[in-house]
Symmetry: C2
DNA sequence: ATCAATTTTGACCATCCAGTCAAGAAGCTT
DNA sequence: AAGCTTCTTGACTGGATGGTCAAAATTGAT
């Protein structure tokens, strides 16, 4: 009858209804999966609820039984994404061997772009539009993490353990080079033809590139 | 009265009305400029004719006096863009000094991303959506150019004039690294703060990177 | 099996948006 | 300044789209 707004120890402000039944969990998941597919290729405004509903195999009103609206689905998707987006950065170990650590970070990002290309495109879409919905996240969460990482990289540079490079640009380069294979997959596929998969050879190339760049 | 379909020596098939009067030239330009602004940040479906009209300071019917429709404006914009997009690749000189040539290409691409960030984002948007409207261009024009360039790079590798790298990934890396500063400018701006401009330090970093990567 | 709670949906709105049209305003030519 | 052409726009239309609602179907506890 009413939409499923649970109340299990809810914070006052913005309510996040916790799915309870098995059906709720399952259908919310199905919807998010479908929405990811649609949003990541058409962007927020380009996507329609009907498209998402069809993709999910549900009716449009049914979608709106589980989510408060298009915006809500999108927000949920982004929130989940941003969590995993920051994770690799946190795994950088200040005590580790610098080049190994950076190489590992690059590999993790490349793997993410291979395993979750739609998430990468969802993110790219958002940034392209000027990051209206995740400005807060970038300014408050990501920025701090990046600053910390940059400090660490600078320390490694100062200690002569990696070649002297601008730490911010180093980080940006890893983002650019890894995400490119997901975000521009369509272009790469058209250029390389059907035989190849976009990521083919990328890891070897990037390993070569960063090992050359970072050698003291 | 009627829309301006000129007929000055027109090819039969898809008509491209050549603007004649000064007013036509001026207003088409104003519209394209406004459309670039809007399409590049909101994508094709996210943009509205009203937005473009407002941005251009014209009425919506007036827009449609100069162009056949939303699609037509967008197509014109992309066509103009793709011409300039290919240009830098053609400037690579097989007879030149390999590292200088590649470095020059990188610099030209970086400059384009600095001087024409909206064009870069328009292109990125298009690829993200799966390149529906420029598939032909990529398959027929870009691909050939890239293949030729890759052959040239491979020859340079074989002659030992640059370090052995996969030529396709080398090209992709230049695209990724240069366009990133335009396409992800919003993210970079939020991370680096108001003091910096996204491209600050990029050229030095990329020069360092490619000179390390390509040294035989 | 019964009955209340949960889930699903057909039918419906209201709004947005691309595109039309006919009439009016501004330019150009003589 | 007349008269033709080019340019501009207010008012409109039809279709798409986000969202609502009340009734029907299903599920689950007893």
């Amino acid at each position: 009858m009413t939409a499923p707004r649970s109340s299990t120890a809810q914070k006052s402000g913005s309510a996040r209804p916790v799915p309870r039944s098995r059906i709720q969990k399952r259908n919310r998941q199905i919807i998010l999966e479908a929405a990811l597919e649609v949003f990541s290729t058409h962007g927020f405004r380009g996507a329609t609820l009907d498209q998402i509903a069809t993709e999910a195999g549900l009716s449009k009103p049914n979608l709106l039984y589980y989510f408060e609206g298009k915006e809500d689905i999108h927000r949920e998707l982004l929130t989940q994404l941003l969590d995993t987006w920051l994770a690799p950065l946190r795994l950088l170990d200040p005590e580790g061997e610098p080049r190994t650590e950076i190489m590992e970070y690059m590999r993790r990002k490349l793997q993410m772009s291979r395993d979750y290309p739609r998430e990468s495109r969802l993110f790219a879409n958002e940034i392209l539009q000027g990051a209206p919905r995740i400005e807060g996240f970038i300014r408050n969460d990501l920025r701090g993490q990046v600053d910390d990482t940059a400090d660490m990289l600078q320390r490694w540079v100062d200690q002569g353990r990696i070649a002297p490079v601008d730490p911010y640009h180093l980080i940006f380069s890893i983002w650019a080079l890894t995400q490119h294979y997901a975000d521009f997959a369509a272009q790469i596929a058209l250029i390389r033809g059907a035989g190849h998969e976009p990521h083919d050879g990328a890891e070897a190339f990037l390993e070569h590139l960063y090992s050359r760049l970072l050698a003291p």
